[in-house]
Subunit: 356 residues, 2 copies
């Protein structure tokens, strides 16, 4: 009989060997996630488009009337599947639309891959699918292809969803994580931490005067206005999901080899989100968002872009929360409300597993 492979002798690249097995943090968007990408995926799949490490991949050699093709994917394993403000269906559509949009692409087409667990209620599946259809209509994208697999009870969790998306980057738009420059203003489009704390409040049974709602939303409309107002002064955009604003700023600081100075007082945080974070011992800068964008824009266009963002319903609370400096490249430093400074480091792993 054919024997199962003996993998005890199989090798694993350093420094992954510090963890012989997958731990939750490998999916958390922090340092462990970055290690997997750097030491395993990049060396294996190496090519120019992948190495850019943007939210979507801009593919050279494929275009439509001069617009470059952008391609992105995300899997969603959020628990619970339904939460205040949304569901895994909304997240799966909005997440991929946003990855395309922050890369400067106009999102056009999505694929959907479902992995269902035996015994999952079809009524729940129907609700997830309805949420996806509604979110796709709202974002103006089409779901054009899909696939469904089923695994035995105890090998899934109701429903996992993968979406991949295609968009086109208009000629002249050049945005990427390595394009931040000293002097850039960093605008955040609204309050941070809403999504992560909405999920955690449900899981932990926290009660506040108002229910914390996820901010899940498609940002492509807002981003169109940002690009119109900012033009080539827009250097980087990113949606700070897993790992929150802190991880996104660190990734961009490292990719662009610049420093980032955050004005902590300027960061917009809802009162109930702040309370939930304090109760759970979390820092909102590390908490996931699903409908916010960070915009790195040249100083002289920052006011115009901020004004344009505030005209849009999803950007009405936008503020300049940080600036880019030439000092301490690769490092994010916060000026605190008490007048002191602290380093906002990349976390080893996400504090909140299965947040998206």
């Amino acid at each position: 009989m054919p024997k199962p492979p003996d993998f005890s002798s199989w090798s694993c690249p350093l420094p992954l060997r510090d963890y012989p097995s997958v731990v939750m943090g490998h999916g958390g968007g922090g340092k462990l996630s970055a290690e997997l990408i750097e030491h395993l995926f990049l060396p294996a799949f190496r090519n120019h488009a992948l190495e850019n490490l943007g939210d979507a991949s801009i593919v050279s050699g494929a275009s439509r009337a001069g617009d470059r093709l952008a391609f992105s994917t995300d899997s969603f394993v959020v628990r619970p599947l339904f939460f205040p403000g949304g569901s895994i269906g909304d997240l799966a559509v909005n997440g991929t639309v946003n990855d395309l949009a922050v890369s400067g692409a106009r999102a056009m087409y999505l694929s959907v891959g479902m992995i269902l667990e035996e015994g999952f209620a079809l009524a729940c599946l129907a609700r997830v699918v309805d949420d996806m259809a509604r979110a796709a209509r709202t974002a103006g994208v089409q779901i054009v292809t899909g696939d469904t697999k089923v695994v035995e009870k105890g090998h899934g969790d109701g429903c996992y969803v993968n979406t991949a998306g295609i968009g086109f980057v208009p000629a002249g738009v050049e945005i990427g994580p390595s394009r931040a420059r000293g002097g850039d203003a960093v605008i955040v489009s609204g309050t941070i931490g809403d999504h992560g704390m909405a999920i955690m409040s449900v899981r932990e049974g926290l009660e506040f005067e108002t229910t914390i709602q996820s901010d899940t939303a498609a940002l492509n409309g807002l981003i169109e206005q940002i690009l119109r107002a900012g033009g080539d002064a827009i250097h980087v955009m990113r949606d700070p999901t897993r790992g929150g604003v802190a991880s996104s700023l660190n990734e961009i600081a490292a990719a662009s080899q610049v420093g980032v100075v955050v004005e902590e007082r300027e960061i917009p945080v809802r009162g109930e989100v702040r309370s939930a974070c304090e109760l759970l011992g979390m820092d909102p800068v590390y908490v996931a968002n699903e409908g916010k964008v960070l915009v790195f824009v040249a100083e002289n266009r920052a006011a115009a872009v901020l004004e344009a963002m505030r005209q849009h319903p999803l950007g009405s609370d936008a503020v300049i929360m940080a600036k880019v400096v030439d000092q301490h490249p690769g490092m994010v430093v916060a000026h605190t409300a008490m007048g002191t400074s602290r380093v906002i480091a990349m976390q080893i792993a996400e504090q909140l597993p299965r947040i998206c």
Copy 2:
């Protein structure tokens, strides 16, 4: 505290209500899979590209120098992850390359979404990733974007992989499941049932003189030769994966409203595959393949296409196994070796769960 949603009152489209919960067959590629698509996904996501129900979606309005964009996705949950002849990594790359190729597209770019289970050995992950990289090089495609999520132990099975793929359909190539015509010859590129029986032999511990190997392979090279030899006489191509040759023929018969007559003696089946099928009470026409293609070609070009296929290493055993007739539209009938006829029906569900 926010309550979890009460879904007891949520509705579910008929006739899905016959099964209030997901069963393994919903992922099997048979009638239950078709019901999910027809009654749930299609009504929710309705658009022209999706309704075509090809292996990939040909997107109107997006092209490259006149070539139309094709987009496809598949999730892979095969168990075990490594089997004679391949692994989930090979399958995930070859499966999506093949879905694009049978749609007439030149496969170009893949995305990879991983859902890992906490505790999965990183050495195994490294092997899966190596297999993907090698398969991508062999097929001549680039993996340009990806995502990794981790779920707790007991909510996955080591590693699930989603791939989505982009290709371009050259001008003039018009292939689709509804284009079969009376008189078409149906060529199969080689022996059937190899993949499914390789998996089942491992699971069931069956011993034969030779180990049954999966046929997992990228078909894009073979299909290029088919298109060069057949031109616009190539009406339909399909890779008969889940549900086997029987399901593919039934789907095409239904979509084209034609009958299909199979010459059972002509179907190439390896001796050890036939033995394994007999032992397990299975019919090879329902068993999955991962490196075979069915080609519907106009009668007058069939010999030339068959000859071209046999020149290619992946088509050396190609034969004409069936023909298309105007009688009994939507139905597949086999002429047996004993001179009788039998209907090859669509199965309710796949006999073999998690075969890909």
